[in-house]
């Protein structure tokens, strides 16, 4: 029995469908990310769950209750806004206590709960500061504390880490996950950062143009993307069109590639063959090796990103920086990969069943 259920949730602005009959089930305690580019409808979906936007159609049920029938102020959700939306004129302690005040919790209990939650997020001792005196990371924790202290049934995060610099963001990702697991709260996060979604979530929901492209666990979504959009959005991808399939051999460009049995049955002519750049290696020449010329290479710290020209067209390869020799620009190399690392992805995106 799902804890949070979105049933064909729709939001139309005139002719434009921001969210198109979106259905989603979230189990209790799960951390789900809505991931997609700007304009995909993820924030609008969150706003509808929160109660700041009226859906055009559809239902939202939480723990069996119809959430849409309840006004925003009474839904009792914990929300962390993108720019934190802390009350600038109140201290940290007053900010966090505000939700408890609204619930009529007496002062002594408020103080105690505020102390607990600030310790949970790692901000003990900053009670009397004002938000303007805090760093971005600290403000973020206060926003989280304010949302959690009211013991909500559901935590909504609107791009919570997008305003932090790269290093801080990585630290906060770990923190966020730790806190969420400690409290065990059902969480829906909206983000455009695929690395973040993959790192934090129990399930990733990739969205585009108001619809769900894929709803799966991070590893599953990454390794077995359902559509071309998903494999391009999550990580980097090499996509080659399968022109024809005969038995277990696929014709891809000028090459005939032997497919493993599972893939041979699933793939169709017209699908695209996906090979992730990190699954390709530079190897010795051979019957199963693809010759290619290095057109560019970019050093990125723990790996090199290679752009090559091969019989299949432009190809990307990621080469771990393991200290070994790396081919230079202009060199001729041979690319190999394991047959099991190939996937088939449908070519065109048919309108998914409602």
């Amino acid at each position: 029995m799902s804890f949070l259920l979105l049933d064909r949730l729709t939001k139309a602005y005139g002719e434009h469908l921001a969210v198109d009959a979106l259905s989603l089930a979230v189990a209790r305690g799960e951390f789900v990310s809505l991931l997609g580019p700007s304009g995909c409808g993820k924030t609008t979906t969150l706003q509808m769950i929160a109660g700041f936007v009226e859906p055009t159609a559809g239902a939202v049920t939480m723990n069996g209750r119809d959430l849409l029938a309840i006004p925003a102020a009474k839904r009792g959700l914990g929300i962390v806004f993108q720019n934190y939306a802390l009350f600038p004129h109140m201290t940290v302690a007053e900010n966090v206590a505000f939700g408890l005040e609204m619930r009529g919790i007496p002062r002594a209990e408020r103080t105690q709960r505020v102390g607990e939650v600030l310790a949970l997020v790692g901000l003990a001792g900053l009670f009397e500061r004002h938000p303007a005196q805090l760093s971005g990371g600290q403000q973020q924790r206060v926003a989280l504390a304010r949302a959690l202290v009211i013991r909500p049934d559901l935590l909504l995060l609107d791009e919570p880490l997008s305003n932090l610099d790269a290093k801080l963001r990585e630290e906060m990702q770990v923190e966020l996950r730790r806190i969420q697991r400690a409290v065990g709260i059902t969480t829906v996060m909206v983000t455009h950062d695929q690395a973040e979604a993959l790192a934090l979530s129990d399930r990733v929901v990739v969205m585009q143009a108001g619809r769900i492209e894929q709803d799966a666990e991070p590893l599953a979504a990454y390794e077995h993307p359902a559509t071309g959009f998903v494999c391009d959005f999550l990580g980097k991808a090499n996509l080659f069109t399968i022109e024809a399939i005969a038995a277990d051999v696929a014709t891809v460009g000028p090459l005939a590639i032997k497919l493993p049995p599972a893939l041979a049955t699933a793939a169709r002519a017209g699908d695209r063959l996906l090979v992730r750049p990190e699954k390709i290696a530079f190897g010795p020449p051979g019957a199963t090796a693809l010759p290619a010329t290095v057109t560019a290479r970019v050093f990125q710290g723990n790996h090199w990103l290679y752009q090559l020209d091969s019989a299949l067209g432009p190809t990307l390869v990621i080469r771990q920086n393991d200290g070994g020799a790396c081919p230079a620009e202009g060199e001729q190399v041979h690319l190999t990969w394991r047959p099991d690392d190939m996937r088939a992805v449908p070519a065109a995106v048919a309108k998914p069943a409602a």
Binding site: A73, G76, F81, N83, A85, H89, M102, S135, N163
Partner: protein
């Protein structure tokens, strides 16, 4: 580079020169004349005396004028603060189209001469009696109220003239607030009245305070409105100074009134700005992120 360093001074020089000759000098000269003695048949006498200030400070005629001026200014300030703040909040929450239109309507009158605006009140209070007719029509009042040539009329007309300043000031404060802050309060369970009381008004407070200070300063030094609505009997500082300068011709006495008004004005404006800035610095400082 020499020319580079001199550039800003050279650029500001024309304006500063004009100010030195045509602002500083006149103010100094009026301050000087306030220390001179006036003879009804002799005119202004040379010499230094404090008698003008003594008269202004001790004569009950002037006490009444100071009292009236500051009482009117205080009441006008409170009215403008309350009305202007609520209007600014209402405007802040409007749709774009209406917001622009009503902002134009509320701020536009500032571009119209105070004579015209006050004439309108003179017509509403006096010759057409429309205000009284409206009040009687509501059934809440049994008799017409004397507005023209009364302190009440001056208060109402001055409030009309000055309330846009509070709207501007509060509006500016509210613009600096992240709109998501109100949504956060809603999500935490606050009702609409609580949001206004605990979130919106406190955040608008710097604007309310600085707007109120401006209104008080302008109300205390107002001339045209008290002259037209208040008439000859109800004098305020500005109209009393007008009397001394253009009727009685006792320039030194008038000058002392002007100096008192100037000093009070500058003091009020400068100290309150400092206080407001200091009080709200912690809240509105640039984020340390």
């Amino acid at each position: 580079m020499k020319p580079q360093r001199a550039a800003p001074y050279l650029l500001s020089l024309p304006a500063l020169a004009v100010y030195a000759v045509f602002l500083a000098a006149p103010i100094v000269s009026i301050a000087l004349i306030s220390f001179q003695h006036f003879e009804f048949y002799g005119g202004i006498q040379p010499g230094f005396t404090l008698e003008n200030y003594a008269q202004v400070v001790s004569d009950s005629y002037y006490w009444e004028i100071f009292g009236r001026t500051f009482a009117i200014a205080a009441v006008v300030t409170v009215l403008c603060a309350v009305l202007g703040t609520f209007e600014a909040i209402v405007l802040h929450r409007m749709d774009s189209r209406w917001k622009s239109l009503f902002l134009l309507i509320v701020l536009g009158p500032l571009l119209i001469s105070v004579v015209v605006r006050t004439l309108g009140w003179a017509l509403l209070f006096g010759s057409t009696g429309l205000v009284n007719r409206a009040l009687l029509a509501t059934g809440l009042f049994a008799e017409p109220i004397q507005f023209m040539y009364s302190n009440l009329g001056v208060v109402v007309a001055l409030t009309h003239v000055l309330v846009p300043f509070v709207v501007i000031s509060v509006w500016a404060s509210l613009q600096r607030v992240d709109p998501a802050v109100e949504r956060a309060a809603v999500a935490l369970g606050a009702g609409p009245a609580t949001i206004v009381r605990r979130i919106v008004v406190p955040l608008a407070m710097p604007g309310i305070l600085s707007g109120s200070v401006i209104v008080f300063a302008l109300a205390a030094s107002a001339f045209a409105t008290p002259a037209i609505i208040g008439g000859r009997r109800l004098k305020v500082i500005a109209t009393a100074a007008y009397d001394e300068f253009l009727n009685t011709l006792n320039w030194p006495l008038g000058a002392s009134l002007a100096v008192v008004l100037l000093v009070a004005n500058v003091l009020v404006l400068v100290t309150s700005n400092r206080l407001i800035e200091r009080r709200y610095r912690a809240v509105f400082a640039e984020s340390a992120a």
